[in-house]
């Protein structure tokens, strides 16, 4: 028991340590948006339509590599600034999967399987577009939880500081906003990391055995495992590829659902979005990933 507790503590620490730079970078990006991008400019730049918004969201996800730990603070800030929900949510869901770092790691883990890389990216895009379409009529602030939508301008009184237009002043404001986001999002991330570590530490050996031999059970089981293990999207392909006795469709389900729905993300979603939006962010990926990976399993 003591050994399991030690393992639990070490895994929780490892997850938090792994997420720390990504959360810090995500908070910094979010703070840069807050300080340097005006709501008017954001409204002008971001397309309103669901499909165009989703397409831009996915495209931004490709060029701005962000893992799932760092993407939620950025999405929250964009929405607070008035960015359209379809664009932002599509970006948030797709970015942890379609970015080049993750696609390359998938390619390496599955020993050069372009089919696995393509299927992973395609399913992520389908989910992102579907969610964007569902929230097509929602404004940025409509999807945010009461507290997450921000009180007044911000927590640092930018109005008072706005008179300081020097780069030094702006830099300080960026860091203060980033710190605020880091603390706000970090506490939920840690709660998720603790839950994920508990599963990994206390999971009995051989718990995967019941998943072998039945495609439906294997896909569902691996999706559940991806949610509870909360492995980072940069590494999940290596974990999935190690489950040698399971079919490729189960691997695909694991690496596709994890970056969109896991325990860390559930905590972050709950702190950021309204209940209805959280339900959409959970149900749509789960249903689509399950259906599409099963289809892939039957066809391939």
């Amino acid at each position: 028991m003591i050994e399991s507790l030690r393992i639990f503590s070490a895994i929780a620490t490892a997850i938090a340590l792994e997420a720390l730079p990504f959360l810090a970078i995500g908070s910094l990006l979010s703070a840069l948006v807050e300080v340097f991008v005006t709501p008017e400019r954001l409204t002008r730049l971001a397309p309103r339509g669901a499909l165009r918004g989703a397409a831009l969201g996915v495209a931004v996800g490709v060029v701005v590599p962000t893992c799932e730990c760092g993407v939620v603070p950025v999405a929250r800030r964009l929405l607070r600034k008035g960015a359209p929900a379809p664009f932002t949510l599509a970006y948030m869901l797709a970015a942890p999967i379609v970015n080049p770092v993750v696609l390359i790691s998938t390619y390496v883990a599955f020993r050069g399987s372009w089919r696995m890389v393509g299927a992973r990216a395609l399913i992520a895009v389908v989910v992102a577009v579907t969610v964007a379409w569902i929230v097509r009529h929602a404004g940025g602030r409509d999807v945010l939880r009461e507290g997450a939508a921000g009180r007044g301008h911000d927590a640092h009184g930018c109005g008072a500081a706005a008179s300081s237009r020097s780069w030094r002043g702006a830099g300080l404001r960026v860091l203060q906003h980033a710190a605020s986001d880091f603390l706000e999002m970090g506490k939920y991330l840690i709660v998720g990391a603790l839950a994920a570590a508990a599963f990994k530490a206390f999971l009995p050996p051989g718990s995967l055995a019941p998943l072998e031999g039945n495609l439906l059970v294997a896909v569902a089981g691996m999706m559940f495992l991806a949610v509870v293990l909360s492995v980072c999207s940069e590494a999940d392909a290596f974990v999935a590829a190690s489950f040698l006795s399971l079919p490729a469709a189960a691997h695909l389900a694991f690496i596709t659902i994890g970056p969109m729905v896991d325990l860390k993300l559930l905590a972050l979603y709950g702190a950021t979005f309204r209940k209805r939006v959280v339900l959409v962010l959970v149900i749509v990926p789960v249903v689509l990933v399950f259906a599409l990976t099963l289809l892939a399993g039957v066809m391939l």
């Binding site: 730079p21 970078i25 203060q176 710190a179 880091f182 990994k200 489950f243």
Partner: protein, 371 residues
Amino acid sequence: MSRRWHTVAARLEGLLMLGIGLGAGWFALQDEYGRLMNPRFRWLTLGGAGLVVAMGFALSLRPRRDAGRGALFVFGAMVLLVLVGRPLSDDGVLGPFGGRSLPPRPELPGYEEMPARYLFGPGRDGRKVEVDTPYVVPGLVKRTAELDAEGHFILLDPVMACCLADAVGFGVRVESKPGEEPEEGKWVYVAGRFRQLGEPVDTPPFRLGAIAFTSVDRERVLVAEEILTFQSLLEDLPEKIPADRCSHFLRGLEDTGLIEVLRQKGPWTVLAPIDEAFDGLPAAERAALFAPEGRAELERLLRRCILPGRLAKGDLFSAAGTETLEGTPLEVEVVNGRLRLQGARLLFGDQAARNGILHIIHPLPRRPRAR
């Protein structure tokens, strides 16, 4: 929340972030980083830690208005968990990752190195693992009663992509001669050839520390021709002592004949003072120490630097009172979190040798205090 508590919480948040950033940065610079994280990501943790320190500094300058208990409580609990869980402790509970550098690879002409992970796909450079080809396979030994009965043990290749949470193990069954099975949990190199099994064989699932998922090859078994423990591949202690930095110490060992003691089975723990430690002595005292008439004093000093047993850095913290080869008890102090042995600072530690472990110290260990 009262105004006073709010002010305190706001100030504490800045300090907490500074602490987290500095703590993560410090950890990234330790050898033990590899126990929780893939060392390739050290730079990423350092960068993130730097960013968090900068944020903490900014937050200390101007605390945020909506500071609350939530973040303080959760981050505080996490810090507590790290302290209670002792993830830095080197007792093998967490698994086989990190810590000391691996010993040199064995030189076995004609044998190609083949970690077990390559059994599950194309090998290095896309080559497939061939049956009846000589390979040397490194890995960690896993034994169970069931495997023992079959004359097998598992050689496990642990793989960590990013952090301990994604650690998995790839294994292969090894067939060894009775009585030659290595100890459970030891790192070994097994030289041998793969044999195709008539029927696939399942291995009961097992976990190894934090590695919850392991896959063992069902199709092949590695027939061991030679099993080399990492310990057997290491150099003896005298060869491990760096001649360029500890030349006076080495010369003293040769003059006093203690070098032969350090070639014996041991194991020994050697605290080797660097040359600057001897250079710090007055010239006359140093000359007298290395003169034939000062040999007894020199031997006493050098014996003070040798302890029986294999005491890693982590063990030395609780090694006060251990008798040195001089027959005096070791004095251990912790000054500002740093270890001092007989008043000497530990500069580099945990250099593994075949028959012991080496730590480099400065200055010379002082005489034990009179009781």
